[in-house]
Amino acid sequence: MIKMTRREFVKLAAVTGALTLMLGESEHTFKTLTAAQSKTQVKYIPNLCTMCANRCGITAKVVNGKVVKLDGIPHHPANNGKICARGQSGIARLYNPDRIKAPMIRRDKSKRGTWEGFEEVNWNTALDEAAKKIKRYMDEGHPEKIAVISGWWGCAVYKPYVAAFMQAIGTPNSAGATINSCMFPGAFGWLATLGGANHAHIISDLEDAKYIIALRRNLAGVGGVPHSWRFAEAKRRGAKVVALDPRMSETAALADVWIPIKPGTDLAFLLAMGHVLVNEKLYDEAFLKKYTTVPLLLNSETGVPVKVWDDKATGLKKYLVYDLLQKKAVSHDEALNPALLGEYTVKLEDGTTVKAKPAFQVLVDDLQQYTPEWASKICDVSSDLIVKTANEFGRTKPAVIDPGWHDPRYENSLQTHRMMAILNAMIGNIDRYGGVSFNVPGREVNLPPPPQNRYDVVWGKKHGMLPLPLPNYVPLYYAMTKGDPYPIEMAIVIAGNPIRTWSGDKEWKEAFKKLNDVLVIDVLPQDTTMYADILLPDSVYLEKDFPISHAEMSLYGAFETAIAAINPVFNTKPEIMIFAELSKRLGVYDKFINSLAKMLKVDAGKLRRYFDSEGIRGIRRAQAEAYGISLDEIEKKGYVMFETKEELMDTMPYKKPLHTPSGKVEVYSLMLAKITSMVGEDPMWSPLPKWLPPKVMSEYEKNKAPNVFYFIYGKSPLNSYTHTTDNEMLDSLLRPDYIGVWINTKRAKQLGIKDGDKVKVTNLKTGEGGVTTAFVTEAIRKDTVFLNTQWGIESKKLKIAYKRGGVALNKLWPFQYARLIPGMLTNELLVKIEKV
C-alpha cells in the first residue's frame, strides 16, 4: 500500500499533469489516476480566439486529442491573459453537434429558405460543382456577376484571403456589414477628423485616463476583452467614468455617473459640452493652433475656405491662416502664431481683399446657440450636469471620450462621432497617454479608392450616392433583384449571415431566392445557410492554422498567429484551403498566390513553394521570413512584440502627419467641405458640426401612446452574432435580460405587463417584429425599450438557438438608409409593445 500525504500526492499530480476530475487521496483513486496518467497526453497550443472580432490570444489545453480548456495567453498585448465567457465557450462551438459536418449540395433552387433537398457529397464533388458554377460566369466574361458576402469574419480576420480569391476569379464585388450596419456611419466621423476609423485604427488609452466618457457603446459589458479589461483597470486606478445611455448597460452600472440620455440626442449633449469648453476657455490652445485645422480662414460671407491648395511635395492639402506675428495670411505651416479668433482682412494674390475668420471663431460662434439649457430640453438631462461634465472633462487630465464601435443608428451618427473626435482634439489628447491613440494599422491607414466597376460605385453614379472605400450593400439588393446597376447572379457567402443580420429581413430573403447560384462557406447551419445550393463546411479556429496578422486591438505593435490545436472534428476544411482548391480548379491559382503575396507583402515564389508543401503554415513561414521574425518564437508564444506603447505614443500628428487631407486634426473637415461643395450644404455633412435631430424624435411626439416606445438595442456579453449563436455553454449562461425586451416598470404596469410575460414587439410603421419575454426594470428610461441582438433564429438546425425564440432585430429594422453614408438607421424607428 502506498502511503503518501495529500501534499505529496498533489505534487505528483502536478508534475505528471494528471486529469483533475476525480482527485481524492484514497489508494483506489490514486491507482486510477496513475493508470490514467500513463496514457494522458497534455499539450498547450497557442491560438487566436475568433468568437468575436477582437481576437484575443489564447492557449488551448489539449488532453488526449480533445480541447478541454481555453485560457488567455499571459501578457498578450490584446487581452493581457484574460478571455471572456464567449472565448471560454469556443470549446462548445468546436464540439457543437449542430455543425455542418460534411459538404452538401442541393439541386432544387425552389427549396431555398428550407433545409429540404440537401445531399451529402464528398469534398471533390462539392468543390468541382462549386468551381463549375463560378467558371460559368468567368467564361462568359462576367465574373462581376458574382458577389462575395462576408460578416465581420471577412472584415476583421480573413480580408487578404477573401480579397485574393476575389481578385483571382476577377470580381470586384463584395459586401459586408461595415458600411451599412456596423461601424462606418460613425467611424466616418473619426475618419474625417483624425484620418482613421474608430476601433479599426483608433483606440482609447483607457487605462491611463483619469476621466472617461462612454457613449453609444457598452464598453465594459461587450467592449471585447481588449477594451473591457482596460476599462476596469482605469477604474481601479481611480478614473471617473461617465456613461451616456438610455439604458443602464454594464458600462453605466459601473460608471460613477449614469446619464440616461434621450435616445439619439448625444450630439446635442456633446455640442453643449463644446459650448462650455470654448466659453470657459477649457481648450488646449497650443494644440489647436499647431496641429488642427481650426486656424483655417473661412470667407466671412460665404463660409467657405479662402484658399486651399495641394502641396506636391507632401501630397497634403495646404490652406491659409492668419499669422498674428507676420500680420498677414500665410500657409498654416509658415505661420508663427496662427489666429484662432477674430476677423481679418486678407489680401489675395490677385490683389483683391476678403474678410475672413479662422474656423475656430466660426465654431465658437456656431456653438453659442448650443447652450446647456438648449441641450437639456433635447436630451432630457439637467443643464447643470452638462456643465459639470464639460468642466470635469476640460479640467481633468488626461480625459477621453471613448471612440465607440458600432453606430449606424441615426443620420446624426456621423456628426455625433465627429463631435466626439473634436472634443478629444479640443483638450489635445490625440495620441497621448490617456487619450485617443492609433493602433498599428491606424498609423498606416490604407483605404484604396474603390474599384470603379463595383456595383455600388456604378449604382451610386446613377442614383447620386458618393463612392465609399468599402462596399455599400444597399445597391446589392437592387443588383440581385432588379439587375440595377447590373445583374448579380451568384453569391458566395463566407461566414456571413445577411438574412439574419442585415436590415430588411424580407428584402434579403427575396434577393437570395432570386439568385442563380448560392455558395455558402460556414461552420453552423445559419439562417442564410438555408439559402445555399452548395454548402462547404469551414473548420473552427481551434482546428486550423492561421497565418500571421497584427494584434490590432492593442496599443502595442505585435504580430500574432494561431496553431491548430486538433485535427478537424468533422469533415471540414479551413476556408483558405477552400479558396486555394477552388482557384486551382478554376485555373487561377497563380493569380490567387500572386494577389495574396502582394497583400501580405511576401515573396510570391516563396509563398507558393511553402504553401504547396506546408499549407497554411507555409504562409506563416513566408511571412515570418519577410517580416524578419522568428517562426519558432511566434509559434511557441502565439505572438511577438515589435513596438512598445512608449514607442507608438506621441507620434501623430506630432512627428508624422495624420491620414487626413491636410495631415492635421481636421476639426474643420476639408473632406466634408469638399462634399458640401459637391452636393450642397446639410447639417449631416457640415464641415463644422451642427445639430441634426434624429427623425424619430418628432415621430415619437406625433405617435405618443402608452404602448409606443423609442427603440434601442445592443449586444449581451454572451453575443458576437453568428459566431456565438447556438452555443450550449453560452445558452446555459443566458439571463432574462439578455433575451427579453427591457421595459420600464411604470410603463409596463400601465400596459398590464409583468416581468416574464410574453410580449409582441413590432415596428410601428411596418408591423414587423416578433415575440419575446418582458424584462421589467427600473434601469431604463420610461420612453425607451431595449433589445439584445441575434435572436429570432429561423434555422431549425440550430437546435439550441432556435428553441429560444426572441425577436430578430432585422425584422424590426426596415430597409431604410441614410444619405451620404448609408447607415441603416437602426434606431430610427418606434416600436409598439403588446402583451400576448
Binding site: A14, L21, S26, K69, W229, A232, E250, M729
Partner: protein, 190 residues
C-alpha cells in the same frame, strides 16, 4: 502556513460571466444541469433614475469555521492545511447534510461522481501548480483577487486588513475567506 482566500471587487465586476464558463470547463462541472461552482447573480435596485445595477460573483466562501465540515458524518468534507474546504469524493455518501448546512448555497450533487461537489479554489489542478484559480485568471475586469491571507505582502491581505474587503453575512459567524469590496457609487444622473 498558507491560508488561501479571495477578494471580489464589485466595482470591477463587469457581469460578463467569464468566470462561470472558465470554472465549468476547468472543473468539468455538470453545468448542463445548471450545477455550477460559481454564479454571478445580477441585482437591480432603486427607482429610475436612481438605480444601482450590481453583479455579485458567488462561490464557496471557504469559511474558517465551515458548517458543512461540522455536519459531515463521514469526514468527507474537510478543510485542508491551506484552509481550502474540499470534499473527499470517495468518502462522500451523498447525505446532503452539508448542502443544507451551507448558508451560502455553495454545494451541489454531482451525479457522475456520486458525491457532493463544490468550489475547490482550483486547489489541486491549478493552485498547487502555481497558477491562479480558473475564475481569477479569466476575470476580464480583474475583480477576483486570489492570494495568501497570511502573507502581509499579498494584495488580499492588504485589502482585508485595511477593512476594505468584508465578508458577506459576517453575522453567520463562519469567518469566510472570500471577501467583498462594496464601493459606494455616486449617481448624479437626473
Amino acid at each position: 502556513m498558507t491560508k488561501y482566500g479571495m477578494v471580489i471587487d464589485l466595482g470591477s465586476c463587469l457581469g460578463c460571466g467569464a468566470c462561470i464558463a472558465a470554472c465549468d470547463f476547468e472543473n468539468q462541472t455538470p453545468w448542463e444541469e445548471g450545477k455550477r461552482r460559481t454564479h454571478v447573480p445580477e441585482f437591480i435596485f432603486g427607482e429610475y433614475p436612481n438605480v444601482e445595477r450590481l453583479f455579485v460573483p458567488r462561490l464557496c466562501m471557504h469559511c474558517e469555521d465551515p458548517p458543512c465540515v461540522a455536519v459531515c458524518p463521514t469526514g468527507a468534507s474537510y478543510k485542508n492545511e491551506d484552509g481550502v474546504v474540499l470534499v473527499r469524493y470517495d468518502m462522500c455518501i451523498g447525505c446532503k447534510y452539508c448542502v443544507v448546512a451551507c448558508p451560502y448555497n455553495a454545494r451541489y450533487v454531482d451525479e457522475r461522481k456520486h458525491a457532493i461537489d463544490k468550489c475547490t479554489f482550483c486547489y489541486n489542478n491549478r493552485v498547487s501548480q502555481g497558477r491562479e484559480p480558473a475564475c481569477v485568471e479569466s476575470c476580464v475586469g480583474g475583480a477576483r483577487i486570489f492570494g495568501d491571507l497570511e502573507d502581509p505582502n499579498s494584495e488580499v491581505y492588504k485589502l482585508i486588513h485595511s477593512g476594505e474587503a468584508v465578508p458577506l453575512r459576517a453575522d453567520l459567524g463562519t469567518h469566510p475567506k472570500v471577501r467583498y469590496i462594496f464601493r459606494r457609487k455616486k449617481r448624479e444622473g437626473d
